[in-house]
Amino acid sequence: MKPLRLLALFIIPMGLIIAAVPQNKTKPYKLTAEQLLGEVNTRTQYLTPDAVADMIIKKDPTLRLIDVRSQDEFEKFNLQGAINIPVTDLLSEKYADILNQDGKMNVFYSNGTLTANEAWMVTRQLGYNNNFVLEGGLNYWFDAILNPNKPASTSPDEEFAKYDFRKSAGAALGGGSAIQPSQDQSTVSAKPAITAGIKKKKAAGGC
């Protein structure tokens, strides 16, 4: 048989099969259940409100706050500079570049931590890095940053430093009252180092 016929006999059926079957668009999970449980147990995904407030005030360009609540809730109240990705639309193509990247620290937040954690778990299982969760959510944010409680007079200095920071941060971010900065704020909350993500590797080729 002529080689051309032989080739046609092989590739045409293959082409017909591949044209007939639905395209596989499922994304395999990148983490095993054990790995994910390990990360959940060490609570690596959490950022404290103090750390986040510090980054907002310093206008840290690597911070990206992502409100995973519904659009209604987002419009009623949101944190300064936050963008809205409702958890129901998390896997939408248009958000893939935001969630799967190496340059920024994405911080999910919701009212509590439940919804934000759901978003974090899904993105983490897809193998995305640099996604975090605001510890305690907006509820704790209100308590800790916008209406901090004055520590007892017997508390250690660190507690007062924390209180001063929260009070000034709260005022700067639209809550609380007067500011009385007395301490160097940078000692109060250490910014977690951004984890070095997998650089999107590119391979080039040609003739």
């Binding site: 080739l7 082409g15 591949i18 395209q23 596989n24 003739c207």
Partner: protein, 196 residues
């Protein structure tokens, strides 16, 4: 599962090592198929030998079917496979320069090294010209960087532009390729050349 290196199933070094092995295999097959002869390569432009067209199109179709089936079986995530970005103006201008060089020199960049490996002098001259071209491009970059980066289209796929699924586009491409092979074999009979 795949791509292996992007998903860190193999290290960057293993990846390069595999590329080295595959590269040797690729070069060997090219040489054995006669791709180290500039007359054979140039034949595709005159119609007397169309093996270049047939080999490269067969390779493209094999790779295409392989990737689509791998994706179907869940062995590779096609969204993570790197697609060369399209700069339309550079693609057209570069294509013309490459084509002209191919007709005049009788080699494409890969096959010139194939020819050089068995000591063909014209292949060495071609490689010299290749590096000269690279050098001139680098030196003169400020002159043509506007054109080089013009009309950036991202990484579009023909199938998505036409609104087809990858599979339907694949069968269309297979039909087009087979038609081209048929025309090519007809051309070989029409414009035969005895010695080359």
């Amino acid at each position: 599962m795949g791509p292996l290196s992007v998903n860190e199933l193999i290290s960057e070094n293993t990846n390069l090592f595999l590329a080295f092995i595959i590269g040797i295999g690729f070069g060997f097959v090219l040489e054995q198929s006669g791709f180290s002869s500039s007359r054979k390569l140039a034949g595709v432009f005159y119609g007397y030998d169309t093996v270049v067209l047939k080999v490269f199109f067969t390779a493209a179709i094999t790779a295409m079917l392989g990737l689509l089936f791998f994706s179907l079986f869940g062995w590779i995530d096609l969204s993570m496979v790197y697609v060369n970005p399209t700069y339309l103006t550079s693609a057209i201008v570069g294509g013309i320069i490459m084509g002209a060089g191919f007709i005049m020199g009788g080699y494409c960049p890969g096959t010139s090294f194939c020819g050089a490996s068995i000591g063909k002098l014209d292949a060495f001259v071609f490689i010299g010209g290749l590096f000269l071209g690279v050098f001139i491009f680098g030196i003169g970059y400020p002159i043509w960087d506007g054109m080089y980066l013009a009309k950036f289209l991202g990484s579009p796929k023909i199938s998505t532009t036409l609104g087809l699924t990858d599979g339907v586009f694949a069968i269309l491409l297979i039909m087009v390729a087979l038609a081209m092979f048929w025309v090519a074999e007809w051309a070989e009979k029409k414009f035969p050349r005895e010695e080359y």
